[in-house]
Amino acid sequence: MEETPQHCLSRLPDNSALKQQELPAHRLYFTARRVLFVFFTTGIFCLCMGIILILSARSTQEIEINYTRICANCAKLRENASNFDKECTCSIPFYLSGKMMGNVYMYYKLYGFYQNLYRYVRSRSNRQLVGKDVKAVEDCAPFKMSENKTPIVPCGAIANSMFNDTIILSHNINSSVQIKVPMLKSGLTWWTDKYVKFQNPSSKNLADEFRGTTKPPNWPKPIYDLDKKDPRNNGFLNDDFIVWMRAAAFPTFKKLYGRLNRTHHFIEGLPAGNYSFNITYNFPVTRFQGEKSVVLSTLTWCGGNSLFLGLAYTVTGAITWLASFAMMAIHITLKNKQMSFFHQ
């Protein structure tokens, strides 16, 4: 007890708000009015959003043509891998009843192709694709080296299985005149893919740079011959290649194949009329019981013509409104009870 007040003070717990659990705090109190207000506004927002989305989605057009069965003979031919060098073409005429306004995008769509298999997704070499070391193939099993021990470029299962059908869209103005619809093969990829993740080796002559390497077993031609006309679309920079290399999330997927070059006749989009797809059929899908189709689509600010988002918003908005009406009913009955309670 000789120890003086100082000692006493030190033992007394601090009187700070934190230590006494008395921090200034905001407590949430739900008043009926506030809750109902929030519910109604949310409901309105959802409903509006839903309607807008549905309307926008309805404004887009989409045509899908499944050519697995139409080109049955080609499919049959491709079932046997030894026929890889035999060319097979197939033409699919179709009628566009209404014109497709604005930008038209062409997709190919695969059914039952698992681009998301664990081993498949990993079977690629980013070091190779970025052009630093074309012989870096460590992660590419089982497509690392060809039989004569030269590294494969581009290595890996993804690259090897690249979609290699050629699809050409023609507009049949009349029975004799056929115009090839001009398609752009640029701007199909993410900007960062094209300019950062995928790079060709620095040299001017790609073929030199890739000397000492082999093409993937399934490819008809080496990587440096993908687009001989446009060096900015050749090698690793080829848009189709880059698009393919981004593995899809689900076994049924679309990938962008081209976009309409809006010139001359097609300045407003695709006019209505007779069209046909001329397809060079290379990609075997019947071997894994898959299917493939071509999709033509126009897009709006919210993307394609899927109604899902719009419907989801509408339904949510409706449910929110229902809930708020129910709550209002409960609130009012309770309020009345309270009145009677007090009157007693």
Partner: protein, 1085 residues
């Protein structure tokens, strides 16, 4: 001791088990041991100064341990392996280690880093914490071990380090030094060979205790003379005090009253004088100086080391308490098992489906995904096994490492709030609450039954002498002389007064029969006599009695040279030679002194519980006093009976011999002493009784059942008898029906037995014991939560408790506010953790159905790793530390709220299923919402398509936001910390995602997240989808909160009207039967 069921049912039941430390009764007979031959095995022989004693047969050097104290667990060398080993003994850590090893060895979808990093973090943090604690222990050990001591060697004073002391060394200790080991006091530099010791550092008692030197060595006060001593000490091999060993509970009642005589110790010293004839003297606790105690008021002492180092009483008693586990922890383990089961099921389902799916060849090996040569060659069974392991690894996040870290942190940090609470601060003792374990915070919110010690816990332990009765005549409220103050109210005492001689005898008895000491100030002896006398005793009763006697004119002036000095009514000083003190113990429940008057008469005075005294006095005297005693007991006073007897000189010779003999015994000394005491304390004459009031903290209280210790022993201990079980169950049934049960006159052991009995009831209710004295330690250790009161009876209870508070009244806030909040916080924490990880993993599981069960992870490795560590950890931690769903004042004022969480309500199957279904719902919404979103051609207006990583990132973003906002919805108490942490975590997630995807990381093989997040946010649809999915996921929760709110509001209205009617019916106005205890509120507590 009192048992209060906190919420079981209205009416709340109180089970009061009352104990008077002074009058608890012997119940279980000591286990009969063969008292005949003394076995040599259990003893050690110590040669004083390590001089062999000539004449003894072959000097067998016994090996004793050195005086090094090692409280540390690790050394520099074994720290790593030993610590790691101990950490991996925890099941959770071991599980994570296994997962990690699987990831390293088997080709699994997630990198070992994802589970290795968190595990490494946990292990490192724990190792650092334990290492630091151990370093502190090392430092403390070193301080003790390297301190300088002086040893007498070859008649010289040699300076040594404390750790070098050997058994048998003669040690010199100066005033205010602590004893370096357990010493037998040989001599002090006072003429009577006493020294004063304080054990403040051992048990918190600051009063000085007297210890005595062996009589024959008192004179040996110099280094030279002490070196000439030739003696051998025989004493028991070191053993810890018994009350520590809970498994030997039947021995608990042996537990010495620490306050009276220190730990149990018996020994014998044989002193060899020049004639080579040994003189034997007994050694008891009063001769033993304990390591850790401090020498006071004495210049220096010489002692011989008998127990050193780890064999000292202090070291032996320094044993970790058995670990108590809280109900929440058990629930966590149960949940863990459920989730482990879910995990295994998921892995098994996926493995099976994988092989079903692969049974068609084009799925097994499509042309675009050919197997490597190695894969083709592996055995199918082996492949299935590794697949199973891979799936387990993929889903292992369902049981997160981080939960254990967070729970630990929550407990550790959360417990500070108790010690910080200024409401627990008591000015009198200048201290607040103390937390000895943080493992049981939430258990405070779950207590069903409260067991409380009465004296000092419910009462202030400040006693006041109220009245006495002498030969059946009542004396009350006296301030001056006894004469003429006899009360005239009672029928017995009407104009009736005891004989003057009897009065004086009674008062002398009060003055002599006690162990009170006078506080010696620096002043000279003369001054103490005239000035205010300060009495010190470990038992406040005795002080009250001595003070009571003083009021009647008999003043105790203290001890001088073995003579007790008493000033009588005529201001004359009488001296009595104190021949023997027959100490109080809880079994005999009485104490006696044998004194010799100036005239040479030998008298024995005895005081004790009525049940302990009445059988030992002549029968005809009892009746009158008995009436008084019973009336006083009914009024709630502590009563003691006083008796005396004259001992003829011849008898005294015999008694003296017997006593000395018993004291010399090395084995079974206690039993022998007890027997002798028993023989002595017979045929006494009852003089009277005293009544002392123990001021209660609070008001009256009714009890349903009152039972005393001896009856209880019939119920509890009549063992092996089938009917005893029957009694037990009847007793329990009655207890359950009562608001409170009062058990009086119990031995410490019985307190623990009662606790254990209630603990083992159906539904295993949570028990809480609260007490202040050493006699409560057993029940404090036995119950689920033990609370010590830092009261006047020393610190034994506080040191053994889980929490200690200064006053009983603090229990209310501790339980109702702190306990409730801790429980709600941790229960929510646990549920939330399982919830958020189920949400997290379910989409990953669903994704397996879309990727051919190929173990493709949905989320990037960084997200897998960071989810629990960074993105969602801090908000829940802040919540679990700060949340006050109901404010503290409401909690303390309405005990009904406490009942709402009883029986581990928030972790029962119902809430668990609710959380699990919520998680399952949300996980499904995340996954399929995003799945349908991805069915469109493009999510951007420029037609670009997204891959699997974008898909995963969208799901993950929705997940992080939903899970965090869900917590925000649950938070009722928004401090700035909550705001900071919740919004900060979300901001951090966004920032991290940009950062992680913004750079080509040179150390990564796959740049799969490169710009995924930024690209994702460039799509309006994605934004809209994320917002919608978050809203849909939270919608049920929002609805529920709103509905609950409505319900609560109406419930509150009901409550208030019910309360109004309650107050009308009020409390039945039955006269309180026995005691004043709980306050009105704590009745429903």
């Amino acid at each position: 001791m009192e048992v209060t069921p906190l919420h079981r049912s209205p009416p709340a039941r109180l089970l009061e088990l009352l104990t008077h430390p002074q009058i608890s009764e012997a119940v279980c007979a000591p286990p009969s041991q063969c008292a005949g031959e003394e076995k040599r095995v259990g003893t050690r022989t110590v040669f004083v100064g390590n001089h062999s004693v000539s004449g003894t047969e072959a000097y067998v050097a016994q090996r004793f341990c050195d005086n090094r104290i090692v409280s540390s667990k690790y050394t520099l060398w074994n720290f790593l392996p030993k610590n790691l080993f101990e950490q991996f003994r925890r099941i959770a850590n071991f599980y994570f280690l296994i997962i990690f090893l699987v990831q390293v060895t088997v080709d699994t979808p997630t990198s070992p880093v994802t589970s290795g990093l968190p595990l490494f973090f946990v292990i490192t943090v724990t190792a650092i914490k334990q290492g630091y604690e151990d370093w502190l222990r090392h430092r403390a050990d070193n301080e003790v071990n390297k301190s300088t001591v002086y040893i007498i060697e070859n008649a010289k004073r040699v300076r040594k380090e404390s750790e070098k002391i050997k058994v048998g060394d003669v040690v010199e200790v100066q005033a205010d030094e602590t004893f370096p080991c357990d010493l037998i006091l040989l001599s002090s530099c006072t003429t009577d060979g006493t020294c004063y010791v304080t054990t403040a550092s051992l048990d918190g008692e600051s009063n000085c205790k007297i210890h005595y030197a062996v009589r024959d060595t008192i004179a040996l006060c110099t280094a030279e003379s002490i070196d000439t001593l030739r003696a051998a000490i025989e004493c028991e091999q070191p053993q810890p005090d018994l009350y520590k060993k809970m498994n030997q509970i039947s021995l608990v009642h042996y537990q010495p009253r620490i306050n009276h005589c220190g730990p149990r110790f018996v020994g014998r010293i044989n002193i060899y004088s020049n004639s080579l004839e040994a003189v034997a003297r007994s050694l008891g606790p009063e001769n033993l100086l304990l390591k850790g105690a401090t020498l006071k008021n004495t210049e220096k002492i010489y002692g011989v080391a008998v127990y050193t180092g780890m064999e000292t009483k202090m070291a032996l008693n320094y044993q970790g308490k058995s670990q108590k586990r809280s109900a929440v922890e058990k629930s966590i383990n149960a949940f863990l098992i459920v989730y482990l089961f879910i995990l295994l099921t998921k892995a098994a389902v996926c493995t099976t489906l994988k092989y079903v799916w692969q049974s068609t060849p084009y799925n097994d090996e499509p042309w675009y995904n050919q197997k490597t040569q190695k894969e083709r060659e592996t055995l199918k069974v082996l492949k299935m096994f590794t697949d199973f392991l891979s799936f387990m690894v993929l889903f292992n996040f369902i049981i997160p490492v981080s939960m254990y870290v967070t729970v630990e942190m929550q407990k550790f940090l959360g417990s500070f709030f108790i010690s910080w609470d200024k409401d627990f601060y008591d000015e009198e003792i200048n201290e607040g609450a103390l937390v000895n374990t943080s493992d049981l915070n939430e258990e405070l919110g779950q207590v069903d039954y409260v067991f409380t010690d009465k004296t000092g816990t419910l009462t202030e332990n400040s006693m006041e002498f109220i009245e006495c009765c002498i030969d059946g005549h009542k004396y009350k409220g006296v301030t001056q002389e006894v004469d003429g103050l006899s009360q005239t109210d009672g029928p017995l005492t009407y104009f009736d007064k005891a004989d003057k001689n009897r009065e004086e005898l009674f008062l002398r008895a009060l003055c002599l029969c006690h162990t009170v000491e006078i506080k010696t100030n620096d002043a000279v002896d003369g001054a103490t006599e005239s000035a205010e006398l300060t009495y010190i005793s470990s038992s406040p009763d005795e002080i009250a009695l001595v003070k009571g006697a003083k009021k009647y004119g008999f003043t105790f002036l203290g001890n001088r040279n073995g003579h007790m000095r008493v000033e009588n009514q005529r201001k004359e000083i009488e001296e009595y030679e104190l021949l023997h003190t027959l100490n109080f113990d809880a079994v005999r429940r009485r104490m006696s002194v044998i004194v010799k008057t100036q005239e040479g008469d030998i008298l024995l005075f005895c005081k004790g519980a009525d049940s302990a005294v009445f059988p030992r006095v002549q029968n005809h005297e009892i009746e009158l006093t008995k009436v008084h005693v019973e009336r006083n007991a009914m009024d709630g006073y502590r009563t003691l009976c006083v008796a005396f007897k004259e001992i003829a000189p011849d008898d005294y010779e015999r008694i003296n011999r017997q006593l000395i003999e018993a004291k010399m015994a090395l084995q079974d000394r206690e039993e022998k002493m007890e027997k002798v005491f028993d023989d002595i304390e017979t045929n006494m004459n009852l003089i009277g009784a005293t009544a002392v009031e123990d001021k209660a903290w609070t008001e009256h209280q009714e009890y349903g059942l009152i039972i005393d210790g001896s009856t209880l022993s019939l119920i509890l201990n009549s063992s092996q008898d089938s009917s005893s079980n029957n009694y037990k169950s009847i007793f329990l049934q009655i207890c359950m029906k009562c608001t409170a049960v009062l058990c009086c006159r119990m031995a410490p052991l019985q307190k623990a037995q009662i606790v254990r009995m209630v603990k083992n009831l159906k539904g295993s209710p949570i028990t809480l014991s609260i007490g202040d004295g050493a006699n409560d330690v057993s029940m404090i250790l036995e119950s689920h939560v033990g609370i010590g009161i830092k009261g006047k009876e020393g610190r034994q209870a506080a040191r053994n408790s889980d929490y200690s508070v200064p006053k009983f009244k603090h229990l209310k806030k501790l339980l109702l506010a702190h306990g409730h909040l801790y429980y709600v916080r941790i229960a929510h924490l646990v549920q939330y953790f399982f919830y958020k990880n189920l949400c997290f993993i379910l989409p990953q599981f669903l994704y397996q159905f879309f990727c051919g069960f190929s173990q493709q992870p949905l989320y990037d490795a960084a997200y897998l790793t960071m989810y629990n560590i960074c993105f969602t950890s801090l908000p829940i931690l802040a919540y679990s530390l700060l949340e006050q769903h109901i404010n503290i004042d409401t909690l303390t004022s309405d005990p009904r709220l406490y009942m709402k969480i009883s029986g581990n309500a928030m972790l029962q199957l119902g809430p668990f299923l609710y959380w699990t279904f919520l998680a399952a719902f949300e996980g499904t919404v995340f996954f399929f919402g995003t799945y349908f979103l991805f069915q469109t051609a493009s999510l951007e207006e420029n037609g670009k398509v997204y891959g699997n990583w974008t898909f995963g990132t969208i799901v993950f973003t929705v997940l992080v936001f939903t899970v965090t906002l869900k917590l925000a919805l649950d938070t009722r108490f928004w401090t700035w910390i909550n705001h900071f942490v919740i919004w900060g975590s979300l901001a951090f997630y966004v920032f991290f995602s940009f950062f992680w995807g913004g750079i080509i990381w040179p150390f990564l093989k796959q740049q799969r997240m490169y710009f995924v997040f930024a690209q994702m946010l460039s799509s309006v649809s994605t934004w809209l989808a994320i917002i919608l999915l978050i809203f849909i996921s939270l919608f049920p929760e929002i609805l529920l909160i709103v509905l609950k709110n409505v319900r609560r509001r109406s419930a509150r209205r009901n409550l208030s009207c019910r309360r109004a009617s309650d107050s009308l019916s009020a409390r039945p106005s039955v006269r309180p039967l026995l005691l004043r205890t709980f306050s009105d509120e704590s009745n429903v507590l």
